[in-house]
């Protein structure tokens, strides 16, 4: 595989194997999450009164989580940039920052879930809450998967091995971020 200069477009058949594979993974996941979101949207349009239910999600905590994920996307792309320059220490550092962001996200979600369940908004309270828990739960499991992938890759990367995998793990993390970008307005705003 000959190297291509920066700023040059890549021929489709020359996209590195790992990256094209990750895009296919992302495409299939888009349809999975998208399927769930589409079902939610259909029901939401059918039941305008869900706006009242959505009032009980904590918009500020949701916004905080959005900020956390956006920032962690930023740090992982910095890790990728560092990996192209061979700056191993930075790769490790930025990867850890991203994982920290993931922990904060999960922590905030744990606080939210606890508060909501405490107030009686359980998964069976209404179909809105069923969607809320299933969608954010599925998303959270992908956050955990992403954090694990980044950690495993970073362990090798900080020794200089398999640096190209930083980008692939990063792509997955960005996808997880994009899903949340849509989940946030769907579940937290629009009362």
């Amino acid at each position: 595989m000959s190297s291509v200069a920066t700023n040059q477009k890549v021929e489709f058949g020359r996209v590195p194997l790992g990256r094209i594979a990750m895009w296919w993974v992302i495409a299939s996941e888009v349809v999975i999450f998208g399927g769930l979101i589409t079902c939610y949207l259909l029901y939401r349009i059918r039941y305008p009164e869900w706006g009242h239910e959505a009032a009980h999600t904590n918009t500020w905590l949701g916004a905080l989580n959005t900020f956390v994920l956006l920032t962690s996307s930023f740090t992982i792309v910095l890790a990728h940039a560092a990996s192209t320059k061979g700056e191993l220490k930075k790769v490790w550092l930025y990867s850890l920052c991203t994982i920290l962001g993931g922990f904060i996200f999960l922590g905030v979600k744990a606080v939210e879930y606890t508060t909501e369940i405490h107030h009686g908004f359980t998964i069976t309270k209404s179909v809105f809450w069923s969607f809320y828990y299933v969608m954010t739960g599925l998303h959270a499991s992908h956050v955990i998967a992403g954090m694990t992938a980044i950690f495993v890759v970073a362990l090798k990367a900080r020794k200089g091995e398999h640096l190209h995998r930083v980008e692939m793990a990063g792509l997955y993390w960005h996808f997880v971020d994009v899903v949340w970008i849509f989940l946030f307005p769907l579940l937290y705003i629009a009362k």
Binding site: F12, S28, I32
Partner: protein, 562 residues
């Protein structure tokens, strides 16, 4: 162009169990699929015996209870679609053929490939285990419609006795994930690892078909995976996604299921159409008629297949205006496949035809599939479907589509590529007896069912004694005839196994290219060594240069310089 190849494995475990070689993984999928076909076939034996001889003890099993009947029909459908058709047609032959036909040493991601089979294997085990848990396996139909499948009836939320259904959902979800993982390999290998000179339009049709099938699968599975998760939560936790009492809607599941379910039948069909092209060209010694048109019409059909799904739901209470739309698209989708049938006939026209066993299966596929296709046009017209829905007419229709696809197509492919992957020639005589008995018996089973369906025989009924009009002598005769034909069909299958096993040990040694075909897999030894090609081949022409005027030989391999 090749990535760093894993060194040839030496230990038994690495060679056959934890294998990363695409040929071994293909074999793992094939054998699993064939074994599951035995399970699915046994289930059909059970329920057809019950239907022909109601209430009598079935040899080899005993009396079939009504709940067991429901399990049998559910698991028969589930197993045949997901654990026989997909692994054999798509996974096994995709794994066997794609790397060889594109000139690669293995799939793009051999370890991922191994993991995809492992996930599939786990899903198989879970499904089989579900037969033995309290309450037995899932029994709500392979289509798993709620509310029945969501267990939202009072008293049916017993977690343990519903375990069969929970396991069914988990097995299916894992199987989907396994195929998503495997599918990425197919796509990336075809896109990135083609040999020099192998442009897209020089690829054998079967590679295109396998990739298109993977794309259809990948883009249609998402909503169903989401729907399955929602169903699992309805069953286990008591959410109300599909429960009208809680604000949900059962029709949503039907839509999600069939949004995937319809492209799924083309996922099964496309590989067989690919095998058809390879076999017809080889045994008619002629190029495929209309190679590019076949591809373009197949793309069209694939796109259309995303917008026909609700023809499965005409009578379930969908908006009638939508029924108009779906009726139209369903009728339209018959056009591309008709074109492909014409192209097959044109390929055979004035060819130098050799009726080898693969050719018999392939030609048999075209003839029988047409009956399935034509009756599909009947059912796609919503007015007719109002009458025929949920009758045996539908069962006969889809078996006339699926059995040619899976059984005829599967046997065709197995016989055709057997020399390549096993290194021995299969026995033609055994193959021909197997073909003729199977083909004739198959018609004996399903032709009567068109008529019983039109006479009002409902699907999924254990015992018709409550409907006197369905217990006439004529109806009983048809049922007995169908079941007897099934017994004949089942009795013929040992011929296949004997052929496969005997030939492996005692068959004539296979040369590289016993059928004098053109694609790259025939340029390597039979069976191919680890790494397939000693050096990366260069491709000079398409895969169908048969009987080229001016050439002495009636074939011209893709990688031959002159």
């Amino acid at each position: 162009m090749s990535h760093a190849m894993h060194a040839a494995p030496t230990s038994f475990l690495r060679k056959y169990v934890f294998a990363t070689d695409h040929k071994v993984i293909g074999m793992q999928y094939l054998i699993t699929g064939i074994l599951m076909a035995l399970v699915g076939g046994f289930l059909s034996y059970l329920f057809r015996m019950q239907l022909a001889f109601p209430g009598e003890s079935i040899p080899g099993f005993g009396k079939l209870a009504a709940s067991q009947y429901n399990i049998a029909i559910t698991m028969h459908g589930t197993i045949m679609v997901f654990w026989v058709a997909m692994p054999i047609l798509l996974a096994a032959f995709g794994n066997f053929l794609i790397p060889l036909m594109v000139g690669a040493d293995d799939m793009a991601f051999p370890t991922l490939n191994m993991m995809s089979y492992q996930v599939f294997f786990i899903s198989t085990v879970i499904l089989l285990v579900s037969f033995f848990v309290p309450g037995g396996a899932f029994a709500a139909g392979w289509t798993a419609y709620p509310p029945l499948s969501a267990g939202t009836y009072a008293g049916s939320k017993d977690f343990l006795s519903n375990m069969g259904g929970h396991l069914w959902i988990i097995a299916i979800a894992l199987e989907f994930i396994a195929f998503l993982m495997g599918g990425i390999n197919f796509l990336v290998t075809s896109f990135n690892m083609r040999a020099p000179g192998l442009s897209w339009f020089r690829l054998p049709v079967v590679v295109w078909m396998l990739d298109l099938a993977v794309l259809l699968f990948m883009f249609s599975i998402g909503p169903l995976l989401a729907g399955a998760i929602m169903l699992l939560f309805d069953r286990t936790v008591g959410t109300g996604f599909y429960d009208p009492a809680q604000g949900g809607d059962p029709i949503l599941f039907q839509h999600l299921f069939w949004f995937f379910g319809h492209p799924e039948v083309y996922v099964m069909l496309l590989p067989t159409l690919g095998f058809l092209c390879e076999i017809l060209a080889t045994f008619a010694r002629k190029p495929i008629f209309g190679y590019k048109y076949i591809l373009y019409f197949t793309f069209g059909a694939a796109l259309l297949s995303f917008i026909v799904w609700a023809h499965h739901q005409f009578v379930s209470g969908i908006n009638p205006r939508m029924a108009n739309f779906f009726s139209l698209t369903t009728l339209l989708i018959s056009v591309p496949f008709t074109v492909i049938v014409f192209a097959s006939i044109a390929t055979l026209w004035r060819g130098n035809i050799q009726f080898s066993v693969p050719m018999l299966w392939a030609v048999g596929f075209v003839a029988e599939f047409m009956i399935g296709g034509v009756t599909g046009v009947y059912l796609g017209s919503s007015a007719f479907d109002i009458y025929a829905h949920d009758t045996y007419f539908v069962i006969a229709h889809f078996h006339y589509a699926l059995i040619p696809t899976v059984v005829f197509g599967g046997f065709a492919a197995i016989h055709f590529w057997y020399p390549k992957f096993m290194g021995r020639m299969p026995n033609e005589t055994l193959g021909k007896w197997h073909f003729w008995i199977t083909a004739i018996a198959f018609n004996g089973i399903f032709l009567p069912l068109f008529f019983t369906g039109l006479m009002g025989e409902h699907r999924r009924i254990f015992d018709y004694s409550a409907w006197p009009s369905l217990m006439t002598d004529e109806m009983k005769l048809y049922r007995k005839f169908a079941t007897t034909s099934l017994l004949v069909l089942l009795a013929a299958q040992p011929l296949f196994f004997i052929n496969m096993i005997y030939s492996y040990f005692k068959g004539a040694w296979a040369v590289n290219n016993p059928y004098k075909a053109n694609s790259l897999e025939w340029s390597v030894p039979s069976p191919p060594p680890h790494g397939n090609f000693t050096e990366v081949p260069t491709v000079y022409r398409g895969a169908y240069e048969f009987s080229v005027p001016g050439r002495e030989a009636d074939y011209w391999p893709q990688d031959a310089k002159s």
